[in-house]
Amino acid sequence: MAVLLLAEVTDGELAMDATAKAVTAAKQIGDVTVLCAGSSAAAAGEAASKIDGVSKVIVAEDASLGHRLAESTAALIVSMADDYDHIVAPATTDAKNVMPRVAALLDVMIISDASGVVDADTFERPIYAGNAVQTVKSTDAKKVITFRTSTFDAAGAGGSASVETVSAAADPGLSSWVEDHVAASDRPELTSAGVVVSGGRGVGSEEDFALIEKLADKLGAAVGASRAAVDSGYAPNDWQVGQTGKVVAPELYVAVGISGAIQHLAGMKDSKIIVAINKDEEAPIFQVADYGLVADLFEAVPELIEKL
């Protein structure tokens, strides 16, 4: 089986963690070719060629492929699709934007957020905010899949794949990039961080969320938030952990003032160690926490910062 994997490339740089995890999933299906597309993508292609298990890298550089606009990126992938049985990507917001478009252009269904590979046609994926896991068998000639990165380990280094280049497909000219608004932060990226500290509605305000950030900085952690905290305006949406936000699986996950709605649990329950701090001892978060502390977060968190 020939697999084309759309690498996660941001501003010319390869997002190694997300791409290498998708490679692990793709290797179970067949021979993996990685596509690095962007206005500059050569360096990303070079980095991708070193991922263990990648047999070929294809670099596509064109102004129209900058900023991963869906229309031009999908057109490129479709122009290459004849050579592959599977077209896959890590389930990032970029890929979730592009891959369903690719699937529709090929007249096949998308298999979104696959969390397991059963065989080349059959995949597991969470549904109902992670309340159920469905095994689906595709009857389509080609499969288009995004992989939930948190359930796969990153493929290691040590590969030495050949690198080729292709030209972009004709730019459909339907959309253009205006600007990115990326919060400058020295903190690790949420989906690949080893430690994540998240705050929920219990934090109470945007100002008090600084306490969560302080604990995160003490632990060298990324900051997350529950959907309730995002909805209440305490935290930006790109911090959201859960079925409608990001899915994380760090070594240590600290949930502060989070009750543990199912939709939040779906985004973090694969974490290795879960700590919950909540004043409500009945909160469902304690049912998944390895270590639970029933306490007022405004007392416990400052003390924790001091004693760590």
Binding site: P100, S138, L174, D180, L304
Partner: protein
């Protein structure tokens, strides 16, 4: 300008999901159903565009079982003008896949000629996150997914998108398909007078065959199971005890 808003009838987000013991799916018999929360946001956005004078007509469409008419009535009570019900299943457990939904929607767009389609970014049942992107592909239109801000400016829409690193703003040519994310707006509740008025608003009933679309599924469901349970751990009684446990586990 006309706006088309697809809405899906799904299990209410407050209802505890139960997986059927025989592994055939999730039990939806006698369960409270509501409008997909992301679709409520797209209905709200369409109504706000109308209130701002940028849109003349808001048409809502639902594809599924006959009871989806309740979901359409909710959208009409919120302020949509007209509804199209496409009865594509007679059992609530038969979920129509995004590709088939997108094909039916394409046929409706060809008839209705809206300049904007506003979709929820995903349905909270199958969590596919695909219909809007697929519809845009089939139409050959531009797409702007995961929108937290939408401004229509003549021949273009300027859309701010929720992406992994933060926000991205793009300009898309009209007509376009926009899928909406959580922070775009807070949907209104329908008032009682508006619920009464909605009963008199027009609703067409169609079938997939009327649009020449075959709704057979491409993904065969092999089984549906409960997710692996995570065992509960222990409660600690102080911050000191917590720090000690974390050190013991090598986590800090």
């Amino acid at each position: 300008m006309k706006v088309l808003v697809p809405v899906k009838r799904v299990i209410d987000y407050n209802v505890k999901v139960r997986v059927k013991a025989d592994g055939t799916g999730v039990d939806l018999a006698n369960v409270k159903m509501s409008m997909n929360p992301f679709d409520e946001i797209s209905v709200e956005q369409a109504i706000r565009l109308k209130e701002a004078g940028q849109v003349d007509e808001v048409v809502v469409v639902s594809i599924g079982v006959k009871q989806s008419q309740e979901t359409l009535r909710t959208a009409l009570a919120m302020g949509a003008d007209r509804a199209i019900l496409v009865v594509a299943a007679d059992d609530v457990h038969n979920d129509i896949e995004p590709l088939a939904v997108a094909k039916i929607l394409k046929a409706i767009v060809d008839e209705e000629k809206p300049e904007l389609v506003l979709c929820g970014k995903q349905a909270i049942d199958n969590d596919m996150n695909a219909t809007g992107q697929m519809l845009s592909a089939l139409l050959g239109w531009s797409q702007a997914t995961f929108a937290s801000k939408v401004e229509i400016d003549g021949d273009n829409a300027v859309v701010t998108r929720e992406v992994d690193g933060g926000l991205q703003t793009i300009k898309v040519s009209m007509p376009t398909v926009v899928t909406v994310d959580l922070r775009l707006n807070e949907p209104r509740y329908a008032s009682l007078p508006n619920i009464m008025k909605a009963k008199k608003k027009p609703m067409d009933e169609k079938t997939p065959a009327d649009y020449g679309v075959e709704v057979g599924n491409r993904l065969e469901i092999v089984k549906t199971v409960e997710p692996a349970e995570r065992a509960a751990g222990i409660k600690v009684d102080s911050v000191d005890a917590l720090v000690a446990k974390l050190k013991e586990a090598g986590a800090v």
